[in-house]
């Protein structure tokens, strides 16, 4: 099996850019990744592109060809839709294309434009990732769905809103060192606890913002990197995906995300590592409770132990296992269909040493990314390793 290397990465600044078209956002990220990679235009063989709500935000279906043009490339391009895991799934398919020998050079990425819609419309648009018959019609919004999981978690394992507030505080602090993050503003536990209730027990600061942005990654085969003398020290060594019932009501446990456990187990086995080998993680904290569920599904914490990890200082910048050094979805922002590959961009830079927070993990060798769709009815986990 061919080894996969990351030759280049690119991001737009995440934030509110309601006037910018999706194609312009993706162009910026893709061109940045191409420049970082330094690969000849003619060598790109395929584009794997993630987007969730393009029909709703821009009335644009069939986005693959539109985004290939935007990226300045002349090759087939396919859009993947898997809610907030769209780009993670696209990246996983890109990895598979290189591993199989079908391609030597591909571009993976994602884009989401959201702020041209109002908050109410965005809330409605995001809700379509839930089960329409049994959840959306019963008033389940996305914050509502995670609130249902948060209350079930507190009941099953303990923990409280203050524990969750520490996660928001940590991720806002991390984003201070990330030029691409939506927020550059430190917050306190009291700020979080006193913010308006969105869906109790979750408040505004438990939730990620509404974000416009794009991300892109150039993947190459090990052989190609060697032949061309590319500087590509980060490899993708593990890839896994898991699935679950779409609706929370059809799952046996409301405070666990087994799809992510399946994805992690597969990715770890693929890479030949275990959770103890992980030095740094980027996880899908669309809500603070989601970071908790992610840490536990990744096997980094036992069930019930993840909720206090930030408050105990274990997952902070100076902790033993820094989590979401990018600022996470919470503070870096969450352009939903771009997030999966944005996590890959952040992890690649953290490991190769050119991220604003790389100094927090100077010896890190193994990084893991966790990207989730819906209430983790879909999960994608990747293991990245750097040559040291």
């Amino acid at each position: 099996m061919t080894d996969v290397r990351i030759a280049g990465v690119g991001l737009t600044k995440f934030g509110s850019h309601p006037e910018r078209t999706g194609r312009d956002l993706f162009a910026e990220a893709a061109l940045a990744a191409r420049e970082d990679a330094g690969v000849s235009r003619d060598d790109y063989e395929e584009i794997f592109y993630g987007n969730f709500m393009g029909e709703l935000a821009e009335k644009q279906g069939h986005q693959g060809p539109v985004m290939a043009e935007a990226a300045g490339l002349d090759c087939p391009a396919t859009r993947y839709e898997q809610a907030c895991a769209s780009a993670g799934v696209a990246f996983r398919q890109a990895v598979a294309a290189i591993r199989s020998g079908a391609a030597d050079v591909v571009l993976a990425g994602g884009m989401e434009r959201m702020n041209n819609l109002g908050t109410a419309e965005v809330t409605q648009s995001l809700a379509i990732a839930a089960d329409e018959l049994f959840e959306v019609r019963a008033g389940v919004t996305f914050p509502g769905a995670y609130a249902l999981m948060a209350r079930a978690y507190f009941d099953a394992f303990g923990g409280d809103s203050e524990d969750l507030a520490h996660i928001a505080v940590k991720n806002h602090a991390n984003a201070m060192h990330n030029d691409y993050a939506q927020f550059h503003r430190e917050i306190t536990v009291d700020d979080a606890l006193e913010s308006p209730v969105v869906a109790d027990p979750l408040t505004l600061y438990d939730a990620c913002p509404i974000t416009d942005g794009a991300s892109a990654v150039v993947l190459v085969s090990d052989d190609y990197a060697e032949r061309r003398g590319l500087d590509a020290p980060v490899s993708v060594t593990g890839s896994g995906q898991g699935g679950d019932k779409a609706a929370l009501q059809d799952r046996p446990h409301l405070a666990r995300t087994p799809a992510a456990t399946k994805a992690a187990d597969a990715a770890y086995a693929d890479a030949g590592i275990g959770p103890d080998d992980v030095d740094v993680a980027e996880v899908h904290d669309c809500f603070t409770i989601a970071e908790v569920l992610a840490l536990e599904s990744l096997g980094l914490y036992d069930h019930g132990e993840g909720v206090g990890a930030a408050a105990r200082g274990e997952t902070t910048r100076d902790g033993d296992l820094p989590v979401n050094l990018s600022g996470g979805l919470k503070a870096k922002g969450h352009p939903v269909g771009a997030t999966g590959t944005a996590q890959i961009v952040e992890m690649t830079k953290l490991l190769r040493g050119d991220h604003g927070n790389s100094d927090a993990v100077p010896d890190a060798r193994v990084g893991v990314t966790h990207n989730a769709g819906g209430t983790v009815a879909s999960a994608v986990v990747h293991v990245l390793e750097v040559d040291r």
Partner: protein, 126 residues
């Protein structure tokens, strides 16, 4: 819009004749289904839904989607009814009196925003 299978199920609940689908291994699911989502068995039979359920988790939603604009704040809950769990909006019970373990019955109400039918939970008469 009509949704065959789901519409009949809601109508049955409204008539006090709610049901769920059971496979030979006893897994429960809700229509429309052609196979058991838990084990794949194709032989599904309709079984009566228990009259009361127990709230497993809930949230009071303060920021609604447009389809619930006139309902907010409202409480959405997941409650267990024997082998199935249902998701519905809690009616006839103040938000601060909803708790884990609260016993509810299931009914069909009307969404005040869209005028569409809506699965609702009401406090069960003891």
């Amino acid at each position: 819009m009509s949704d065959t299978g789901y519409d009949e199920w809601l109508a049955a609940i409204a008539d006090g004749e709610g049901y769920y689908l059971a496979c030979p291994d006893g897994h429960g699911s809700l229509p429309p289904r052609r196979s058991c989502p838990h084990c794949g068995a194709a032989e599904l039979t309709a079984e009566p839904l228990p009259e009361t359920g127990e709230v497993l988790t809930f949230t009071e939603v303060h920021v609604p989607a447009p389809n619930f604009a006139d309902e907010a704040p409202y409480v959405t809950a997941i409650a267990s009814f024997g082998p199935v769990k249902l998701t519905g909006v809690v009616r006839d019970l103040p938000a601060d009196e909803v708790d884990l373990g609260t016993t509810v019955s299931v009914d069909v109400g009307t969404n005040a925003t869209t005028d569409e039918r809506l699965l609702v939970f009401r406090p069960a008469s003891e």
